[in-house]
């Protein structure tokens, strides 16, 4: 209680001080995000503990207001269903983790040289490199994924090319392999990996490299002892910015994957739009959030460390 009272007193003092205007400035975005981001997450929890029914909307939440007044009747049916059919849901969770983690590593390997190149270049070269990274980020990811479909589908350019070379006799079904999902995630998320890496790499003082070279360090030593440690915050931020949203990706496995690449986002989508079992879809969202809360909390930690450096 003392904690709450101290907060109330501070709030009161801030509201009555000359900072009242600034305080209100902060309250507007805070109220917006609370209403449209935090409360909806509670709503998901409420529906996941509710029950399914025929009608509009097709569920009864675990708590809320009805004609008879407030009610609170949570049940764990949806979670029980997830447990009963756990293999149907664990496999997509495994697929999501595997594909998101794999593509995160590919993004890191491809993004690091780009970020380093941009950080060490000057003027027009640096600007062009950065614009080339930003350009795809600003254009539709749906259309970029669609472009990958054109490349990898059975009559696509890759298969045409391989058939032409005589390396294969029948077209490869690339769209039912992990490689197409990796390709899709990389084309969508690569810029998100480059930008935080660039932000840390550009701040490394170049005299450090000179000093290292003067003292006889090889390129590898310089990289391992200066570049990599100083880029750590950027690596962590970039990896999380790719991994977390990729875990719940719907569009990429839907358009670029087969049954072997079934991921959580696609399962949730199917429960919601096809089976119309909203409580189960909500329970899946809660499950996904629980799994992702580990990296999300880590991101908050990493962000704080990045601010400090």
């Amino acid at each position: 209680m003392g904690w709450a009272r101290r907060h109330l007193i501070t709030l009161y003092q801030q509201a009555t001080s000359s900072k009242i205007g600034l305080f209100l400035v902060a309250m507007i975005p805070l109220a917006w995000l609370t209403l449209f981001f935090a409360v909806p997450l509670l709503e998901i929890l409420g529906v996941s503990l509710g029950s399914s029914r025929r009608g509009v909307p097709p569920f009864i939440p675990a708590w809320g207001l009805s004609d008879e007044g407030l009610f609170f009747a949570p049940n764990s049916d949806s979670y029980a269903l997830l447990l009963r059919h756990s293999s149907d849901y664990l496999v997509p969770l495994y697929n999501s983790t595997r594909l998101a983690f794999g593509s995160m590593l590919i993004c890191l390997v491809l993004a690091f040289p780009i970020a380093l190149w941009a950080a060490r270049a000057r003027g027009a070269v640096r600007l062009s490199l950065l614009v080339m990274v930003l350009l795809p980020f600003w254009t539709s990811s749906l259309l970029r994924v669609y472009a990958v479909m054109g490349l990898l589908n059975p009559t696509g350019y890759v298969n045409q090319f391989l058939l032409f070379l005589g390396l294969i006799d029948t077209p490869l079904d690339l769209m039912r392999m992990d490689i197409s999902v990796y390709f899709g995630i990389v084309i969508c998320y690569l810029p998100l990996m480059v930008l935080p890496l660039y932000a840390v790499l550009v701040r490394i003082d170049e005299s450090l490299y000179e000093a290292a070279t003067d003292l006889g360090a090889t390129r590898t030593t310089t990289f391992m002892t200066i570049t990599l440690p100083m880029a750590r915050a950027g690596i962590v931020a970039g990896c999380l910015l790719v991994f977390i949203p990729a875990m719940g990706e719907f569009m990429i496995p839907e358009l670029l994957g087969g049954p072997e690449q079934l991921m959580m986002g696609k399962v949730l989508w199917a429960e919601f739009f096809r089976s119309r079992d909203w409580p189960v879809a909500a329970a899946l969202a809660v499950l996904l959030l629980l799994v992702l809360s580990i990296p999300i909390l880590w991101l908050r930690h990493a962000e704080r460390r990045m601010k400090e450096t």
């Binding site: 600034l22 975005p29 358009l255």
Partner: protein
């Protein structure tokens, strides 16, 4: 002396750029293909583009998407600016950590979760207050503004961190009120970031498929929703053409914008270059 990039690293960087650009380039080239087959070249033709302008469903969806994106971007800009100012300029208010966290989480939240949670919120609000009645343009705009404001805030925060607030303090010491300080000092400095933020929020809204699918109602199918339903059926020259148009227009806008904001792109964070620049 600057250390150059090793050869192997340059190759990796080029592979990275190839991944980003080769599929889209091929798609653009084949959108001018005369034949129905999408990977066999059979002569140049712009007929798929002509067909687009006779497709009423696409044109309606395009108009709707532009309206939603413009509204969502404007809302994002206002909210995102307020958020960035609160995070960078209000020293030590108690709920700062909460705002910082809530401003960051939507950036990484999987879209299916955001979409589903907002839909459930809108349904809950409708039962409680009778608003929003059904889902359509307004609900999509709110949903897009919620993540758009976070991107806007990130961009403006970077700009605010760039110039130290002694200018603002000096103005305040000389007797300017908070609003005067904002309009005469802060606003001109963050203007490029405001433009960049609005454009980014616009394109994010314009491109969003997943969240819009959850919170749209009958009759409010945005362009990505319409395009997605045809993309699902496979690669066709018509979709190549619409995709080419959208990507080219977006790229042109980005290129023009980046000419104006080259400084912001180059020195996204605290740097001596920008400090001396704004200090003058």
């Amino acid at each position: 002396m600057r250390s150059s990039l090793p050869f192997a690293a340059k190759i990796l960087a080029i592979i990275g750029f190839a991944v980003l650009y080769v599929p889209v380039t091929l798609m653009i080239i084949y959108s001018f293909n005369a034949g129905k087959l999408t990977s066999v070249w059979s002569g140049f033709s712009a007929k798929w583009y002509v067909a687009l302008f006779q497709n009423d469903q696409l044109l309606t969806a395009l108009g709707l998407s532009v309206i939603i994106a413009a509204g969502a971007a404007t809302l994002s800009l206002v909210l995102g600016t307020l958020m960035a100012l609160s995070l960078e300029r209000i020293g030590g208010f108690r709920l700062r950590w909460l705002l910082a966290f809530l401003g960051l989480a939507p950036l990484v939240m999987p879209e299916v979760v955001t979409g589903l949670s907002l839909l459930l919120l809108f349904i809950g609000m409708e039962t409680l207050f009778g608003w929003p009645s059904g889902r359509g343009i307004d609900t999509i705009m709110i949903a897009h503004a919620t993540f758009g404001m976070c991107f806007v805030s990130v961009i403006i925060q970077a700009r605010l961190a760039d110039f130290d607030n002694s200018l603002e303090e000096a103005a305040a010491d000389l007797g300017a009120g908070p609003l005067t300080v904002f309009y005469t000092v802060t606003l001109p400095v963050i203007l490029p970031a405001l433009i960049a933020g609005w454009l980014l929020a616009f394109t994010l809204s314009f491109d969003d498929l997943v969240i819009a699918s959850f919170v749209s109602g009958p009759g409010s199918s945005t362009l990505p929703i319409v395009v997605f339903s045809s993309v699902r059926l496979g690669v066709t020259p018509e979709v190549n053409a619409i995709a080419t148009l959208i990507i080219c227009i977006a790229s042109l806008a980005v290129l023009v914008a980046s000419l104006f904001m080259s400084r912001l792109i180059l020195y996204g964070h605290r740097s001596t270059e920008t400090d001396t620049d704004t200090g003058q």
